[in-house]
Amino acid sequence: MDALMAFLTVFITPKLLLLSALGTFAGVYVGAIPGLSVTMAVSILISFTFSWDVYPAIALMIGIYMGGVYGGSRTAILLNIPGAPSAIATALDGYPMAKRGEAGEAIGVTTVMSFFGGLVGIAVLALAAPFISDFALKFQPRDYMLLAVLGILLVGSLSSGSLAKGVFAGAFGLVIGAVGLDPLTFTERFTFGFEALTGGISFIAVMIGMFGVSEALLQLHTVSAPVIRQKISRIVPSFSVIKKYLPLSLQTSSIGVIIGALPGTGGDIAALLAYDHAKRVTKNPEREFGDGAMEGLVAPETANNAAVGGAFIPMTTLGIPGDAVTAIMIGALFIHGLNPGPMLMIEKPDMFWFIVGSLVAANCFMLLFGLTGLRLFTKIVEMPKSVLFPLIMLLSVVGAYAVKNAITDVYWMLGFGVFGYFMRLYGYPLGPVILGVILSRLLDDNWRRAIISEREDLGRFFEGVVSSPLSLTLFVAVVLIFLSQIPFRATFRRLTRRRSNVKEG
């Protein structure tokens, strides 16, 4: 009964409900602007809500979080510029839809599916949090490493066209991610003696440059071309459409919850893995992936919103952050006199149910704000390009600076923007670069941790992999996906043909 009351608190207190709505609304816009991140917004809120009670502060933060994760998809669809790392996969199929004037439909489906994914995440949090957090804790360094390898294999999914170019882009991303002080030994890597490089290259700056600036530069080629009018008559998808994607969205939401609950990974990796999963299980998409497949929108958007609920699982049950945002919220709870840890759920179950309630409220507001106010958003893309793209450049500069208040990041952002522009011109995909940067540390740190734990003995390492069911499953998945990506038949045919050609010649 107390649990129910705590759950309903946010709905029956007008002030809390208003804050939740306000947070979600702000979150959608913060998320949509590349460079303004949810992490940043929530850390600013810590100082801002310092003197408040804990409930209003949490309601506002959760609103921003939920809205922000969703908001990233907006600009990804409309402008091909993901507002947040977790929306990178959304751009792949969302933008082609917008180019056809179907942005309204794309955003409609994205919103409903984000809502659905969010709901799945919250349901798992409410019903199975202790169970999932126990499972998440079982992930050893070697499992994180295998997960990262699994992620690296997504290069295949993210590179349309030449796989070789995709592999190059991915490797480049891995190197960028390695720049700076190595977090395990504090040795400088690829810094060439520059102090500015010891902090590493901000991954957000790379993302803003590669997607934002390069897109703006690319659009200069067609600056006088007429803008595409967007059809916004059909925003709310019909029930049959939702029903069609329900099985897929359940699968991708599950991926989202688990990846979100793992303390070492978050929504960005979840969305990319989900996209890859969708590509694998969808046999006959109406449109090809990369050309506006609806499945390519549904998968990452359900997964990244499900990851929100997932991230709260270790936070509420163990006081361990599931991602960067929940890490800040743990700090906020400390400041408000609570001691987040394994005892929080036992001693203060109200707090847990309040968080669940706030998540549900924020999720509903997200649906509401997502489906309304669309007209205004689509107007943005209908602006003349000569106005829109300078604006994007401006936002990119502001966003890159805001990440760490460092002017160096602005230079990086611009540099990567120009570089990304040329990569695009020469047919190099940008997705794998970002993938590489995201996975670089996960892969490198955990590989070293895993091998150090086994006294640097490869034999012992594989013994560990084989003897743990979890590691073995991941290992087998890596091997199978790797094999499935090698075009055996085509290679064989090409080889035999070449041989027969030789005979004939």
């Binding site: 400390f334 740190d445 006294r455």
Partner: protein, 334 residues
């Protein structure tokens, strides 16, 4: 006439500098936090500063500047104007930058405004480890050489200092040191069984200990902790630890060297008021930190002593990259 103008200008200059200190702060003060949002330095700074702001009658805008194990923030503030409008909010580790080869600057380039609180290290093990105290762990290590996995957080971190103490007192330990990106991730790994033992600051481990998710083997202090009354102190296992203790990480607010003394005094007074606030006291107690509230000459002495002890300890254990002697850090008197 000329002379009059000159003296008037000089008088004006005098008046205006006097006025600066008296009216300080006339604009927003920037507080640069050395570590990321949500970390313990961040939590401590964000919870004490609003109370200090009230006493000061000004605003302190805090921002996180991460990277380079905190060296980027330190160098940023050190390069800035010494006018009291840019402050560094940091922890103990810059005192080890020089000997660890991480930077050329440390707190000797700063004036301490206040040392807020210090933490106590505690040795924790995963809940199902086959030993319950420090002695049991030592016996286990002797019996199973090279089997125990101990968490670490990179050179100069708390685990490296505790490990240095252990090597100095007990001789070389045959364990595997597994590095993590901070004590939070390491304690997570401890609960997942990826490591067996972890030296951590009490505040980070206290909730896990209370819930039985990990067990405390020993408190690295000379007297028992009020938060962990049942856990024996390390000196009860081996008296030799006494020469290094009490030792612990700490948090402090610093201004670049050359900041006017009255401005520093004003800030010190504000923070001295801030740490008295019951909310802050409660937060620190809940996390197992001891409030210090040290400033002025006393703080300077604390920093010097801390640096001498720790730098030479790490050097003697073979963990330092450069000798403390190179930087004029004197060997502590026995």
């Amino acid at each position: 006439m000329k002379r009059f103008m000159l003296s008037a200008a000089a008088a004006l200059a005098l008046v205006s500098t006097g006025a600066v200190a008296e009216e300080y702060p006339t604009k927003e003060i920037k507080g640069v936090i050395q570590w990321g949002a949500g970390g313990s330095t961040d939590t401590v700074m964000r919870s004490v500063t609003p109370h200090a702001e009230k006493a000061l009658g000004g605003t302190i805008v805090m921002q996180n500047m991460t990277g380079g194990v905190g060296a980027i923030a330190l160098n940023f503030v050190a390069r800035g104007k010494a006018d009291g409008y840019t402050l560094l909010m940091g922890a103990e580790n810059p005192l080890l930058y020089k000997i660890m080869g991480l930077g050329k600057k440390d707190y000797t380039d700063f004036v301490p405004i206040v040392l807020l609180a210090r933490g106590t290290p505690v040795l924790v093990a995963r809940a199902d480890a086959p030993y319950d105290d420090y002695a049991g762990m030592m016996a286990y290590i002797k019996k199973n050489p090279g089997a125990l996995r101990m968490g670490a957080t990179g050179p100069g971190g708390l685990p490296s200092v505790v490990t240095a103490m252990m090597t100095t007192v007990e001789g070389k330990l045959d364990v595997i040191a597994v590095p993590f990106d901070g004590d939070g991730p390491a304690l997570t790994a401890l609960q997942g069984g990826a490591i067996d033992v972890m030296p951590a600051v009490l505040g980070a481990a206290i909730e896990g200990i209370r819930a039985g998710k990990m067990k405390a083997l020993a408190v690295f202090d000379v007297k028992p902790q009020p938060y962990l009354p049942k856990t024996p102190v390390i000196t009860s296992f081996n008296k030799k630890y006494e020469s290094f203790l009490p030792w612990g990480p700490f948090f402090g607010v610093f201004a670049p060297k050359g900041t006017p003394a009255d401005v520093v005094a004003k800030l010190s007074a504000a923070y001295a008021e801030g740490i008295k606030h019951p909310d802050f006291v409660k937060l620190m107690e809940g996390r197992g930190f001891t409030i210090m509230g040290t400033s002025g000459k006393e703080a300077q002495e604390f920093l010097t002593k801390w640096q001498q002890n720790t730098a030479w300890l790490l050097h003697d254990a073979g963990l330092a990259k450069k000798s403390p002697e190179e930087f004029g850090i004197a060997r502590p008197a026995k």
